[in-house]
Symmetry: C2
DNA sequence: CTTGACCTTCCAGTAGCTGGAGGCCCTATC
DNA sequence: GATAGGGCCTCCAGCTACTGGAAGGTCAAG
C-alpha cells in the first residue's frame, strides 16, 4: 500500500503518517522507487494510534500503548494504569473548563450587550477574582 | 516598577511579560539602564490579560478585548459577542472531553487490570468504533 | 509524449510560552 | 575599593503535534 491508501483507510492525513514515521512510531518498508510500502500491520498500528490520539492520549502515551499492544505477554494492569491516569487528566480538564464556563457565563449574563460602553465583562477581567 | 515587581503583582512569570511585550500586547517604557519601567496602567493591563488567559481566551482574543478595554466609546455588545463565542468554544471542548471520557471510561471499566495479557482497552483501540 | 495525480524530501510556521547562556547593573558588605 | 549576590538584559533553542508549501521524482492513462 502507498501512503495515500493507508491515509484513507486509517483516516489520517498523509503528512501525519510521515510525521509518525519520523518520530519512530511506525517504520514502513520502502519500495525500489523510494515510496513507502505499508503492510497490513502498519495500517493496524496507524488505526490504533489514530484512535488513541482521538481519545486524547499524547504521542508518548501512544508509544507506550503501542509497545504494550505489540507485547503479547503484557499485563492488562499496565494498560489500565495508563488509561486510568488519562481518565483522571480528562476529568481535571473538564473541571477546569467548567470553572471557566461558570465564571465567564456569569459575566456574560451580567452584560447588557448593547451600544453603551458600560461592560461588566471588562470590569470583571480588570478587577475580578484571581 | 521593574519587571520582577509587576510579575509578582500580576501573578505572571517575568518571561511571559517579556513575551507579551515582544508580541505587542504591552509597551512598557525603558529606564536609562535599559530596564523596563512599568506604569500602573501597564500593571492593570497585565492583570487583565492574565485573567482573560486564565479564562481560556487566546492571545488574539486578549488583544481584541484589551483594545475594547482601552476604548471608552466601545459598545458592550462587541465585548459580549467575543465572550459569548468563547463560551460556545468552551462548551464544545467540554462536550468533546466528555465523549472521550465516556468511551475511555467504558474501556477501562471492561478491563480486569490484572497480570493476564487480555485487555479490552487495547482491543478497543485496535478495532473499536471510529 | 504529455498530463495529472501521486510520491519524495526539506524547510518553515503554528500557540504560548519556557529554559538557558552570556553578560550588564545595582546594592550591600567587608 | 573590591566583591558577592541578585535582578535585569538579549538572543537562541525547544516544547506538542502537526500543517503548508516548494522543488522535484514516478507512474498510469490517453
Amino acid at each position: 500500500m502507498n501512503i495515500g491508501d493507508v491515509a484513507a483507510r486509517a483516516h489520517l492525513p498523509a503528512k501525519t503518517i510521515r510525521y509518525y514515521e519520523e518520530i519512530g512510531l511506525i517504520t514502513p518498508a520502502r519500495g525500489q522507487n523510494g515510496y513507502r510500502a505499508f503492510s497490513e500491520t502498519d495500517l493496524h498500528k496507524l488505526v490504533f494510534i489514530g484512535r488513541a490520539r482521538s481519545l486524547g492520549f499524547t504521542i508518548e502515551e501512544c508509544r507506550a500503548l503501542l509497545a504494550l499492544y505489540e507485547d503479547a505477554t503484557r499485563a492488562s494492569a499496565d494498560v489500565k494504569r495508563i488509561a486510568h491516569d488519562h481518565l483522571r487528566q480528562i476529568e481535571a480538564k473538564i473541571a477546569e473548563l467548567q470553572a471557566m464556563h461558570k465564571t465567564l457565563g456569569d459575566l456574560v449574563q451580567a452584560c447588557a450587550g448593547d451600544q453603551r460602553p458600560d461592560c461588566p465583562i471588562l470590569k470583571g477581567l480588570a478587577s475580578g477574582p484571581v
